[in-house]
């Protein structure tokens, strides 16, 4: 059974079955004893559910939050999965825009990007709606807009855009598509805003930017998929393109006539503090009224209103059978594992297609299906389970576990994308910080697997992050007697209290950061280093322990 999963996963990415894969399978088969399982029990009342272990809680919470903490583990153990998810989905959404709007307006609006990042950190570190925030972040890496570019001067717009993602994190994807499409941040980022009908005399035709990317990156992707995420193949064994240039041009014509709201005229529309958070408005005389060819042979008739064209066109995309598996793969990759099996993708896509009540696109049901799937928490840990944590989540996990704060109360980490290679709405392009298909050279690529997060785990960024963690552990901790007001300090008082006891100190840090599961090698190496540090240097011992854990491969790995 386990071996089937390996082969299945490989098939997910449509790769050839090579000797290298065979080798991996054989190795796994050896490691897992062939995957035989006990027969199901027959008759009688269902046995009581076994208690959830700390390790299980830790694993789940690293999938579903911005980092497991000791307190959140206990809460989860008490609630169990379903109730925990129920509670999370009922929580009030932590928002960004009210925070950013309440600040004094600086001359240079770009300065508020720091505050936008600040409120993102506040929400993901201590917002109670952890699952919603984690899903919103995942969505922000699919439905990408970024401060890098023209939107640097539109912090309100970006804050509001993120709020749209957070509010709709458990809503319906069709609704989210509509709000994203008409959001002025997306309008500016992918240039649908200001897009106008053709002017043949001047060789002007509609802008194809949003038309292309809404399909390629937000919904259906480049090639036709089976429900399990594998590629559909034609009779020659080739993948089938989902759309043609003609279809892109059809959508480009649909997306004409929209601009910032409340302008006197289309040509006079400009970004203001107010309109950057209001959905774009149709200026009918700039909308193309011809017929438009869409996906699956659908043709919109000539003469429709811009609103009708838009609604029909988004329905056309939303109803394409690719959307379920397309989103399933990406959301599973962000939350649980880089290489889901086709079965896992198919189960989640099936919930997207119908949540059980006949509703298509229910993201709350999709998120629950992702987290509750057996493959998210296998009985026997597999070599391919899990993923590399996103770099910024390595930071938030540390900060959550160590109650990190600055004396100003702020987290002005505007440079997140420089140090960590990513940050909230800070992607270099609409293609996100990393590709869902990235395979690093070596055994992962040779095995036809992927590890998206490793695309930005370059030698350079890894060094940068390692050094940042050094500064965090040794300098920016609660022993710092003269920190800057914005320096974010971790609280190491508990570590200091036990630092005379090397094993006790390692146990404590392991408990907070690894769910108590630390490798013998890491423990041995830390113990060796701590033995070189005088017992009286308690803060140094604490810092050294935290540094070694948070820079280790096992901490970078999300089980």
């Amino acid at each position: 059974m386990q071996t089937d999963r390996v082969a299945d996963r490989i098939a997910t990415f449509g790769r050839m079955y090579s000797q290298a894969i065979l080798t991996v399978c054989v190795l796994l088969l050896g490691a897992c004893g062939g995957g035989s399982s006990a027969p199901p029990p027959t008759g009688g009342p269902p046995p009581p559910l076994p208690p959830i272990t700390k390790a299980e809680a830790n694993q789940f919470l690293n999938q579903a939050t911005f980092g497991a903490t000791v307190a959140s583990q206990q809460n989860f153990i008490n609630l169990r999965h379903d109730s925990w998810i129920d509670q999370e989905m009922a929580k009030t959404t932590s928002l960004q825009l009210p925070f950013v709007r309440a600040l004094p307006r600086p001359q240079n609006l770009a300065q508020l990007q720091t505050d936008r990042v600040d409120i993102w950190f506040r929400n993901v570190l201590s917002g109670s709606d952890q699952l919603r925030q984690r899903v919103a972040f995942a969505l922000s890496e699919i439905l990408v807009v970024s401060q890098q570019g023209a939107l640097l001067q539109a912090p309100y717009s970006l804050a509001d855009y993120y709020d749209v993602l957070a509010r709709n994190a458990f809503g319906n994807y069709r609704q989210l598509m509509g709000e994203v499409t008409l959001h002025p941040a997306m309008g500016e980022y992918l240039s649908m805003l200001g897009n106008e009908k053709p002017d043949p005399a001047l060789n002007i035709r509609p802008d194809e930017n949003y038309a292309r990317e809404v399909m390629q990156l937000f919904s259906v992707g480049l090639i036709e998929l089976n429900n399990d995420g594998s590629a559909k193949l034609d009779t020659q064994g080739q993948a089938i393109p989902t759309y043609s240039q003609e279809i892109i041009e059809g959508f480009a014509h649909v997306f004409t006539g929209w601009h910032f709201a409340d302008a006197r005229r289309f040509e006079l529309a400009r970004r203001t503090d107010a309109n950057q958070t209001i959905p774009m408005q149709l200026y009918p005389s700039f909308h193309d009224t011809g017929s438009k060819t869409l996906l699956n042979g659908v043709v919109l008739p000539a003469g429709q209103t811009g609103e009708q064209d838009l609604s029909d066109a988004l329905d056309n995309i939303f109803d394409h059978p690719n959307v379920g598996p397309f989103l399933a793969i990406r959301l599973i990759q962000r939350l649980v594992t880089s290489n889901p099996s086709p079965g896992y993708v198919g189960r989640v896509a099936t919930i997207f297609n119908d949540n059980g009540s006949g509703v298509r696109g229910d993201l709350g049901a999709v998120v629950r299906a992702i987290l509750m799937d057996d493959e998210a928490r296998p009985d026997v840990p597999m070599e391919l389970d899990g993923k590399i944590k996103e770099p910024i989540i390595r930071l938030t996990q540390l900060w959550r576990a160590y109650d990190a704060s600055s004396s100003s109360g702020r987290y002005p980490i505007i440079y997140a994308y420089i140090v960590f290679g990513q940050g909230p709405l800070q992607s270099p392009t609409v293609f996100n910080f990393f590709s869902p298909f990235y395979a690093p050279p070596g055994e992962i690529r040779d095995s036809n697997l992927v590890a998206p997060e490793l695309e930005i785990a370059t030698e350079y960024l890894n060094t940068f992050i390692t050094n940042y963690m050094f500064g965090q552990a040794f300098v920016n901790n609660s022993e710092n007697i003269n920190p800057g007001v914005d320096d974010v300090l971790i609280d190491i008082n508990e570590e200091i209290a036990v630092a005379a006891d090397i094993d006790g100190l390692i146990d404590l840090v392991s408990e907070k950061l690894m769910g108590g599961d630390i490798s013998d090698t890491l423990r041995t190496e830390i113990a060796g280093m701590l033995a070189l540090i005088p017992e009286s240097e308690v803060a140094v011992r604490a810092a050294e322990t935290i540094y070694f854990v948070v820079t280790s491969p096992e901490y970078a790995y999300q089980r």
Binding site: A150, L190, S191, G194, N195, D199, L202, N203, I204, R205, P206, D207, E208, N209, R212, Q216, L222, Q238, A239, P241, Q245, S338, P381, G386, K387, I388, P428, T429, F431, S435, P440, P441, G442, E443, I444, S447, A451, L454, E455, I456, A457, T458, E459, Y460, N462, T463, F464, T466, N467, F470, G471, S519, T521, L522, E525, L532, F548, S552, P553, Y557
Partner: protein, 454 residues
């Protein structure tokens, strides 16, 4: 300067072409006869790929200037056209009957071109085989999949994969081919200053990624007892055996980082950078670091290097007229400064920089910008360049003309395979190995475009 004299001598006598032909006539053998299969190279060479992310509108970089051709250009481009009188004239040694000019912000490149140090390859792009408009429309030839899509066409340029999946890039395969010849190198042949790139991905060799200002050393690994102990413990952790394929993948990167950071940082610390002033841009900073690394090449026993640098913002769907001057001016200034630095270092005939970009852009406009297209023009700079020439065919920029598939998307007449093959031949691989680097080179008559002197 000597390199130019040599080039002009070769051009005038035709010896360059003859030598090229002779080299090509004895496939496979030539390289091993000259160098031995794994002998170190007798010289130093570097290729520097300047990737212009987003799709450079290169028909506004190199523009027809003579009246008849300009009129066609202006009629197609309308409000995206550069004014005829603003174009910076260039005078190729082998004219094609029309006159050409450069974008007004590219004065540095104009000088390099006119003094034989720069050349263009015109209307080049991903192709699997020569393709006419009829063949495109009838789909009677194989076409690169997902034309006009950013990441797919970046990947085509970088991998030359055609219709097949490819996990390696052409520079990666090039590095693999020469790996036994450069076994003494202390740093990877492929170095990126702009993140991981498929261009440098390979089966046998691994590229090294540094920042725009070089690698950074690890804090805490000082050269004293405490620092050495810290480093040793850190290395024990990353060298441990891990159960997950992801942990191992992460640890591999950490291992390369620890192994190389101090070595390269020390080499740079002990080598003065060239005094040439670079523009204070991201691209300028990257190229300044490349020049510094080239200056330090002997400290790391480097014989062959392929650098990847890049700059973005070329996806000008909006505000093209506003943004293009800064974009092209930035490329011109940074690449010219880099050329000057190679002159200062005495390596200007050993270092060749060249551009790549996703695609050129539609000749038509979407109002205030342009959309994704296909074939475009690329720039090559260095003293090994047979400069002051335009290689390939400059297309007629006519809407619905013979090369336009729709909206001013021009079918390339020279393939990215030919472009990469020409660079690779100069770098030192034999004709027989070209198909390893450029898998579709056999589909094209001209295997070497001739823009580099061998």
């Amino acid at each position: 300067m000597a390199a130019i004299d040599r080039r002009e001598f070769l051009r005038k006598t035709g010896a360059g072409a003859a030598a090229t032909a002779a080299f090509a006539a004895c496939p496979g053998a030539a390289f091993s006869q000259v160098f031995g299969t794994s002998a170190p190279f007798p010289d130093y060479k570097a290729l520097v790929c300047v990737f212009l992310f987003g799709g450079n509108d290169s028909y506004n970089m190199l523009v027809p200037r003579s009246n008849a051709e300009y009129a066609v250009y202006a009629a197609s481009r309308q409000n995206m056209a550069i004014a005829q009188t603003d174009l910076l004239p260039i005078n190729p040694l082998t004219p094609d009957g029309a006159d050409y000019g450069l974008h007004p912000m590219m004065a540095d490149v104009q000088i390099l071109f006119e003094t034989n140090r720069a050349a263009f390859v015109t209307n080049v792009g991903p192709l699997i085989e020569p393709t006419t408009k009829d063949q495109f429309q009838n789909q009677s030839v194989q076409l690169p999949p997902q034309l006009f899509s950013h990441n797919d066409q970046q990947n085509q340029w970088n991998s030359l994969r055609g219709v097949n999946q490819s996990k390696t890039g052409w520079a990666g395969r090039l590095a693999d081919l020469i790996r036994t010849n450069v076994a003494g190198q202390q740093m990877a042949t492929n170095v990126s200053l702009f993140g991981s790139t498929l261009l440098q991905s390979a089966d046998e060799t691994v590229a090294y990624v540094m920042g725009s200002d070089g690698p950074i050393p690890f804090i805490g690994f000082d050269d004293n007892d405490a620092g050495r102990a810290q480093r040793a413990a850190f290395e024990q952790v990353i060298n441990a055996s891990y159960g997950s394929i992801y942990e191992r993948g992460f640890a591999e990167i950490q291992k390369r980082a620890v192994a190389a950071a101090d070595l390269i940082s020390n080499a740079l610390d002990n080598e003065l950078p060239p005094t040439t002033v670079f523009p204070p841009t991201q691209l300028g900073q990257q190229l300044a670091t490349v020049a510094h690394l080239i200056a330090a090449r002997d400290r790391l026993q480097m014989q062959r290097q392929i650098f990847f640098v890049a700059t973005g913002g070329f996806d000008s769907h909006d505000d093209q007229i506003l943004n293009q001057p800064g974009l092209l001016g930035g490329v011109s200034a940074a690449m010219a400064a880099f050329y000057n630095a190679t002159v200062e270092l005495g390596v200007s005939d050993m270092v060749t920089s060249f551009t790549q970009s996703d695609f050129a852009r539609t000749l038509t406009s979407n109002g205030d910008g342009t959309d994704h297209a296909w074939g475009g023009n690329q720039l090559i700079i260095g003293d090994a360049v047979a400069g002051r020439e335009m290689y390939g065919i400059y297309p007629r920029l006519e809407l619905d003309g013979p090369d336009d598939v729709s909206g001013g998307r021009i079918i390339p007449t020279t393939s990215a395979d030919q472009y990469a093959a020409t660079l690779s031949r100069w770098f030192g691989i034999p004709d027989a190995d070209l198909a390893t680097v450029a898998p579709h080179i056999d589909n094209f008559v001209q295997r070497d475009l001739g823009f580099l002197l061998l």
